[in-house]
């Protein structure tokens, strides 16, 4: 079987924050990995390990200090702010811990929000929002407001919003962090189902049972990649030193 396309190619990525007073902090140190289309990857690590910084770079919200990051064949480090916005809008779907829905807009408006920036007309936006809501089992909720549905449903709305541009990859930052365990399972099952449909998913979590839904795990510790392999084969002993 032919190998699948590389959607994320991270080479020698470093991120350094320069503080006032001339001090600096190396948050990411020489990170290398690739993610192929259709993979389900969990990025794990303790607080302050640098996993969120890595996620920001992968999500094109930040640029590496050095190294290269190629997303779906595009070199991200050399792109302008406008080009990065375009990449975020067309190639990436975001799912946030706090859902980040617009409470004063209908669910259909929330789901179709990324399409506004692609200059797609109102009718087409609504049509596609209805399709996406069907995909996350929320048909019939188009004209309600986020405050009228549960937290789990709100996260499903956020997932529908992430899917609406047919992105090459979905980034989920602690997507179950604000949900109870039953709802968390439902959301993770939805991610699993989407992954089986061929969607690449990269999620950041510090919860083992959430990471268990992923097939591959990348662990970051003190800014270094200390494990990159199958989730089910992970053990503390297999971690490399930073």
């Amino acid at each position: 079987m032919a190998e699948k396309k590389v959607v994320i190619d991270v080479k020698k990525v470093c991120k350094t924050y320069f503080m006032e007073g001339g001090t600096s902090q190396n948050v990411l140190k020489n990170i290398n990995f690739q993610v192929r289309s259709g993979e389900f990857v969990a990025i794990m690590g303790p607080s302050g390990s640098g996993k969120s910084t890595l996620m920001n770079i992968l999500g094109c919200l930040d640029k590496p200090t050095s190294g290269t990051y190629i997303l779906d064949g595009k070199d991200i480090a050399s792109k302008t702010d406008l080009e990065l916005a375009k990449v975020r809008g067309q190639t990436i779907g975001f799912v946030f811990q706090n859902f980040n829905l617009m409470m004063k807009r209908t669910i259909a408006d929330n789901v179709s929000l990324p399409l506004i920036y692609q200059k797609i007309g109102e009718q087409e936006r609504y049509k596609r929002a209805v399709e996406m809501l069907k995909r996350v089992n929320l048909q019939g909720y188009e004209d309600r407001f986020p405050s009228q549905i549960s937290g789990g449903m709100q996260q499903r709305v956020a997932i529908a919003r992430a899917l609406i541009n047919n992105p090459a990859i979905i980034f989920a930052d602690e997507p179950t962090g604000n949900l109870d365990s039953k709802t968390s399972d439902e959301i993770m099952e939805l991610f699993t189902a989407l992954n089986k449909q061929g969607i690449t998913i990269v999620l950041v979590t510090h919860e083992d049972d959430v990471a268990d839904y992923a097939t591959r795990m990348i662990k970051i510790s003190d800014g270094c990649k200390v494990y990159d392999g199958l989730r089910k084969e992970y053990s503390k002993e297999k971690e490399t030193k930073c």
């Binding site: 919200l61 929000l113 109102e122």
Partner: protein
């Protein structure tokens, strides 16, 4: 794209209705104030112009000389222009007609009613020159003047005060105990420039005033003389001829000051109009201060809005919103607020100025320019006051914005 931005802006500003309304209120009051003040200024200008027109246009007014002492005007000297002078002026080139006033303030009596009136001894041309119209009856003629007939043509106030609902024509009223027959009534003219009642007047042949009312020992001096010029552009040349003729008739040597004064009505109208314009401009400037206050209100609200919606801005950026889209959306919000506010303010301004005009009895014009200017200013205010918050929103780092609690 514009439609989508406007819709997003509309949803955002309607999400917090009370706050948006209160912000709009500043602009509403500002624009309403500008429209009302400009209308008030124009109403005053219109009133002044109308008052002058009621006196008569293309007029040269000749009165007693001004007394100037040490550079300070000290009122008027004694009358020096005689009836003969005025009659002589009639023969000058480009003079359409002349007239004059010999005033007297007396108590008029009819039956059991009496009223203090302003009597004006004059010539028959007075009505035409000063834009008076005969409502009923007739004006006295030159023969009546020659014969010093005891005829009176009375204003509407005199009609109301002395005769009430009766027809005054043919009735006899008494002035200083002497009888005078009412031969005509004047059409209502309303208040004069100084708020004086122009209709409280009795016109009589000047000879009648002199012989029957004041006594013939009074010299034939006029209080004010009027020269009506054929066209406005001849005013200057005629006034020079008038001055020359009067100086010659009064035998004034070179270097001696005029013993009379000449004023051109057109100049007076222009002066008063320019004062009215200055008044309008001043009122508009004062009113526009409230527009500035309103714009500060918008800026304040938009800054609060950007801070409150920091995470929303981060989310939008993460979902692919370009920076200029974010900036345009916030600008659109402030422009919408100021535009809607100014539109409502304009409507209220027009309504209130019309109501005010109705209550005060003035005709208040609706100035299209004040409407256009105030709405345009409001849109500019929206852009200016929304620019800083919009730039702040645009420059937000998406990572920091997403983390904002």
């Amino acid at each position: 794209m514009l439609k989508a931005i406007l819709k997003e802006a509309w949803i955002s500003i309607t999400a917090y209705k009370l706050r948006t309304f209160l912000t709009m209120l500043g602009i509403m009051i500002g624009v309403a104030a500008v429209v009302m003040m400009v209308s008030a200024g124009q109403a005053v200008q219109g009133y002044i112009t109308k008052s002058f027109e009621s006196i008569g246009s293309n007029l040269i007014v000749i009165g007693p000389a001004e007394i100037v002492s040490g550079g300070v005007r000290g009122g008027r000297g004694l009358p020096s222009v005689t009836v003969a002078d005025v009659e002589a002026l009639n023969g000058l080139k480009d003079v359409e007609a002349t007239s004059f006033i010999m005033p007297a303030a007396v108590q008029a009596v009819y039956g059991s009613s009496n009223y203090g009136v302003s009597v004006r001894g004059t010539s028959p041309e007075f009505v035409k020159i000063n834009n008076w119209e005969i409502e009923d009856g007739i004006m006295f003629n030159d023969k009546d003047v020659k014969a010093a007939k005891p005829y009176a043509v009375i204003g509407q106030t005199v009609v109301d005060e002395l005769f009430g609902l009766q027809n005054p024509i043919g009735k006899t009223l008494r002035l200083k105990g002497k009888p005078f027959i009412v031969i005509g009534t004047l059409k209502e003219k309303g208040d004069g420039l100084m708020g004086d009642d122009q209709d409280n007047v009795i016109l009589m042949p000047w000879t009648t005033v002199r012989q029957r009312l004041e006594g013939s020992e009074r010299p034939q001096y006029t209080q004010i003389a009027f020269v009506k010029v054929t066209t406005e552009d001849k005013m200057e040349s005629v006034s020079k001829r008038v001055e020359y003729m009067l100086r010659t008739r009064h035998r004034l040597k070179e270097g001696v000051k005029n013993d009379f004064s000449i004023r051109l009505m057109t100049e007076m109208v222009e002066k008063v109009r320019s004062v009215g314009f200055m008044l309008s401009a001043l009122l508009a400037v004062i009113a526009s201060i409230s527009l500035v206050v309103g714009s500060i209100g918008i800026m304040n609200m938009m800054l609060v809005s950007v801070t409150e919606r920091t995470r929303e801005i981060g989310t939008r950026k993460a979902l692919g919103a370009p920076n200029d889209w974010i900036m345009t959306q916030f600008l659109a919000e402030s422009i919408l607020i100021s535009f809607i506010g100014s539109f409502i303010g304009m409507i209220f301004g027009v309504i209130f100025s019309q109501i005010g005009g109705m209550l005060l009895g003035y005709e208040v014009p609706i100035s299209i320019w004040s409407v256009i200017v105030s709405v345009s200013v409001a849109v500019i205010v929206g852009i200016v006051s929304g620019l800083m918050p919009a730039l702040k929103a645009m420059r937000l780092n998406p990572i920091d914005a997403l983390r904002y609690q």
